[in-house]
């Protein structure tokens, strides 16, 4: 009983970490510029395809592809940000939705053109496969890796935002954009960097997600809902909140399936709705 | 409702409000008789706007009572106070940018008349409501621009629209928060003549920094300093009082 609980917690936490990597970027950019970027998962998909290509075409080792997918997603995202998104910061959020959804459509089609609609397989190195026992609990090697990796990323992120000048600027911009501008902070610049960072993380998430949820052109749409759920529950612009939300949703999703499989599919939505009704601005949200 | 003679239109007793350690309203007790023109003056940060927020229910007091025509309204929400006749305008324009003045004021009238839930008849069908709205706009010299979108209006006109919206609710007591804030002098006189010509059974309390206007319009003046009432009296008494000179007239807002 207890071991099974531990197992569920472990798997749920791992799944949560994946959700966190995929969502955190959107949360920050949404909180910072109120820019509704529904194309966020497109950048995750880009990361995923970069990894797949490097492994299957160029025969790279899995780990080596991760930094590349991060950089690729970040670079491409910043191109879009500079050429298209930045023209819409003052536009209505509806227009922002339309533009980014259009982008998603295009990316889905392009992915299908290049990679066809087939599921992209990714073969992990042996040391990331299988599982091992710890006190009767079976721990998936890859999940453990996922958790450690995500925790490291999170730590780096927090340090970057809490203890660097850049981080201070970003936080100022999230708290109060007008005042930040008043203080002579280059908000747009800070945003561009944050945006790239967030998309890069999404790209990482995309690469890491393949092994658990697979990868095909519909990825950019399929994951949008989950990311939005995490972001809204976590609260805009709050890394801690996003983290908590991702873990909470990951675990409750997993627990729901293990303990009440008959309502397993409702779980994540029920949790989201009740959390939002309790705290409309999200767990650690600032503005209501 | 007709309130028994002598009952003030609006009164507060022992009104308190503090944000953390900062006391913004300290034992405020005022009583505004029917139809009087009151000016509320005091240096910035004296708590004038806070007082209005407390009286209109935008803020909840930590202690004390607010009575409107003798009825205790301390527990009521803003919209309920409005429907009972306690209405305010905003220091910073808070309007409906994409509605034109005619629509906006008609909207206010319809809400007052409780016909705003009717969706099977056109607004134009309610002749009385529309005419009333138009008359209000005329009285405030907004008739010529009443079909322009609000966001296109001149600033002074927007200030007038603030008042027009308030009037449309048939207020008994009207609280004007710096009605002339940011309005050029020439326009502001026009604005205050409008205020001055308001029907005499409306009690008016207005915050204003321009002393000339205050002394010309107000029949009585309340002076606030750091969250408390310093004194209350006729313009002459106020201008004669040395304390006021020292804390206020001598100060920043000469």
């Amino acid at each position: 009983m207890l071991t099974s609980l531990a197992g569920v917690l472990f798997d749920g936490f791992a799944y949560g970490m994946l959700l966190f990597l995929l969502s955190v970027g959107l949360s920050v950019t949404l909180g910072m510029m109120n820019f509704v970027n529904l194309a966020h998962c497109t950048f995750a998909m880009i990361g995923g395809y970069v990894t797949v290509t490097l492994i299957n075409q160029a025969g790279w080792p899995f780990l080596a592809t991760l930094p590349v997918s991060f950089v690729a997603a970040a670079a491409i995202s910043v191109v879009f940000e500079r050429t298209m998104f930045n023209r819409l910061y003052r536009a209505s959020d509806l227009d922002q939705c339309l533009l980014t959804i259009g982008l998603v459509f295009v990316s889905v089609a392009v992915a299908a053109l290049i990679y066809s609609t087939v599921q992209q397989p990714v073969q992990l190195p042996s040391y990331l496969r299988g599982s091992f026992q710890v006190g009767g609990v079976t721990l998936g090697a890859y999940r453990l890796f996922l958790i450690v990796f995500a925790l490291v990323v999170t730590a780096a992120l927090v340090i970057a935002l809490e203890y660097t000048r850049f981080g201070a600027q970003v936080r100022a911009a999230v708290d109060n954009q007008r005042m930040a501008r008043g203080l002579g902070i280059n908000v747009d610049g800070a945003f561009a960097i944050t945006f790239a960072l967030g998309s890069g993380l999404a790209g990482l998430g995309g690469s890491l997600a393949i092994d658990i949820v697979g990868l095909d052109p519909s990825f950019a749409l399929a994951f949008l809902v989950y990311v939005l759920i995490v972001v809204s529950v976590g609260g805009l612009g709050s890394i801690g909140g996003t983290f908590a939300a991702a873990v909470l949703l990951g675990i409750s999703d997993m627990a729901g399936k293990y303990y009440f499989p008959e309502i397993g599919s409702f779980m994540i939505y029920l949790v989201m709705i009740s959390l939002l009704m309790w705290r409309p601005a999200g767990i650690f949200g600032r503005r209501v | 409702m007709n309130t028994p003679a002598g009952t003030p239109a609006l009164s507060t007793s022992g009104l308190n409000k503090r944000f953390g350690s900062l006391v913004v309203a300290n034992e405020i007790g005022i009583a505004l008789p029917q139809g009087v023109r009151y000016a509320l003056i005091g240096p910035n940060g004296a708590g004038k706007t806070t007082l209005i927020n407390l009286m209109t229910g935008m803020l909840q007091p930590d202690g004390g009572h607010i009575l409107l025509g003798g009825e205790d309204i301390t527990a009521l929400g803003p919209e309920q106070r409005v429907s009972r006749g306690l209405v305010r305008t905003f220091q910073i324009n808070s309007l409906f940018p994409h509605l034109n003045p005619l629509e906006a004021v008609t909207l206010a009238v319809c809400e007052r008349e409780k016909i705003s839930r009717v969706w099977w008849r056109t607004t134009a069908g309610y002749r009385a409501a529309v005419d009333e709205a138009y008359d209000i706009l005329k009285s405030l010299l907004l008739a010529p621009v009443c079909t322009r979108e609000t966001r296109e209006l001149a600033y002074g006109q927007q200030r007038l629209l603030e008042i027009a919206l308030a009037l449309a609710t048939r207020p008994k007591v009207l609280l004007l928060d710096e009605p002339a804030a940011g309005v050029p002098r020439d326009e502001s006189t026009e604005l205050f003549t409008a205020i001055n010509s308001l029907s005499k059974d409306i009690t008016v309390l207005f915050i204003e920094h321009d002393m000339e206007l205050v002394f010309r319009l107000a029949s009585r003046i309340i002076v606030m300093v750091s969250g408390g009432i310093l004194l209350e009296g006729t313009p002459d008494e106020i201008s004669a009082d040395p304390r006021v000179r020292e804390v206020y007239l001598g100060g920043a807002h000469g």
């Binding site: 099974s4 197992g7 569920v8 798997d11 799944y15 299908a112 066809s116 609609t117 087939v118 599921q119 992209q120 397989p121 990714v122 073969q123 992990l124 496969r129 299988g130 599982s131 026992q133 079976t138 998936g140 090697a141 890859y142 999940r143 092994d211 658990i212 949820v213 697979g214 990868l215 095909d216 052109p217 519909s218 399929a222 999703d253 997993m254 627990a255 399936k257 293990y258 499989p261 008959e262 397993g264 599919s265 | -």
Partner: protein, 393 residues
């Protein structure tokens, strides 16, 4: 009024038959499938099967040119499927409709086929009842009960007594669950537990842990193609389920190529029942696979063979009617067709118009470095057991 309606239907049908007769020299086939969205890949595989058949056998049959009109159904959307079928027949004057990746879409189009008396070839949708919805429909794929009852029977024969079933929580999954449990119980086995996982589920560890806790002899899994099979395979390994103690059984999708590529050695030993795999050992199939790879740079799968044999059925029927595209003539010609398909011997049941074929039991093994499904047992001439049980009218 019912009579009035049918009368009207016949009238329209007659009219349509007339109009289509004008389309001399060419036979127009309306192909309705999901070319986009979540189900795009099956769609394109079926399409590849069609393309390859036409490449091999030319595009003229009985002196008539075959012309395809492709329409995108874009996923589960019977309303769209029905509209497209109607438009194809009324506007584009097609002589028959084919394709149909998903059950609801096939069912919706079946109404149109019945109403307009148009020949319809269901190349994939696998729910039993579909073929009963139009007397002009044949199926060249398989049916869920056909495969899974075979598996259930075989499982007991192979010595398993306690089974746990885990299926996707939507109708095909429920059908698979029902078929397997029925056959397994009829043989004498016991179902010690079962779960249905959410359709969009991504992470299976929780469900598998549950199953593992009960340590059954066989763990039956029904999963649609897509990302889930690989995910399940990996989760099985992660949960440390010992395949010697607990056999993992499933319908063919569980061990599709991309699934095996994804799960790697974790898949070794999975046992699946299916009607086709590119590893099926026959001269015909080897050629088929070779040509297919030459053409599309990937292996054919059950979708491809469904499309391929679907075209075969159309060609053969047209030959028999020598080009007459009248619905009644075509269906009459199609009934009882027998041929050697890449999947092995198959035929169209004269009564039910449904596919009759061999169901293979395969185990995942490593053959010169490649994970493949190796057939080691088979049940021949399997009809759709569901219809066999249905009262004949």
């Amino acid at each position: 009024m019912q009579r009035a309606m049918t009368g009207l239907a016949i009238a329209t049908a007659a009219l349509l038959a007339a109009t289509s007769a004008y389309a001399q020299g060419t036979v127009k086939i309306g192909v309705i499938m999901s070319y986009s969205g979540q189900f795009a890949d099956p769609g394109s595989q079926i399409d590849n099967g069609i393309k390859l058949y036409m490449k091999e056998h030319g595009d003229t049959v009985a002196g008539k040119k075959i012309e395809l009109i492709r329409k995108d159904n874009g996923g589960v959307a019977p309303d769209v499927a029905k509209r497209l079928a109607q438009e194809l027949i009324v506007r584009d004057k097609v002589d028959m409709i084919a394709g149909f990746d998903l059950t609801p879409n096939a069912l919706a189009a079946a109404d149109v086929s019945a109403q307009a008396k148009k020949f319809m070839v269901n190349m994939n949708a696998a729910t039993s009842i579909i073929t009963t919805k139009s007397p002009y429909m044949v199926r060249t794929s398989f049916t869920v009960p056909q495969v899974n009852e075979a598996l259930g029977t075989w499982a007991y024969k192979s010595g398993a007594r306690k089974a746990y079933t885990l299926v996707s929580d939507f109708s095909p999954g429920h059908d698979g669950e029902g078929a397997f449990q029925r056959a397994f119980k009829e043989a004498g086995g016991e179902i010690i537990g079962s779960a249905r996982y959410p359709v969009a589920n991504q992470d299976f560890t929780a469900f598998l842990q549950r199953a593992k806790d009960l340590s059954p002899d066989v763990l039956y899994i029904w999963v649609p193609g897509g990302p889930q099979p690989a995910a399940i395979g990996k989760a099985v390994a992660e949960r440390g389920i010992d395949l010697k103690k607990t056999k993992v059984l499933g319908q063919g999708e569980l061990t599709f190529d991309e699934a095996l590529k994804g799960m790697g050695d974790a898949g070794l030993g999975f046992i699946t029942a299916f009607h086709y795999d590119h590893n099926h050992q026959s001269a015909k199939n080897r050629k088929f696979v070779a040509d297919y790879n030459a053409e599309f740079k990937r292996n054919p799968d059950m979708f491809s063979v469904g499309g391929y044999d679907g075209m075969h059925a159309i060609y053969e029927a047209l030959k028999k009617t020598n080009g007459n595209t009248d619905g009644d003539a075509l269906i009459a010609a199609a009934k009882g067709l027998k041929w050697e398909s890449p999947r092995g011997p198959m035929s169209l049941d004269p009564e039910t118009r449904d596919v009759v074929q061999t169901v293979y039991i395969r185990r995942v093994e490593k053959v010169n470095g490649q994970l493949v499904n190796v057939e080691f047992d088979k049940l021949e001439n399997m009809k759709d057991p569901f219809k066999a049980r249905m009262p004949k009218q």
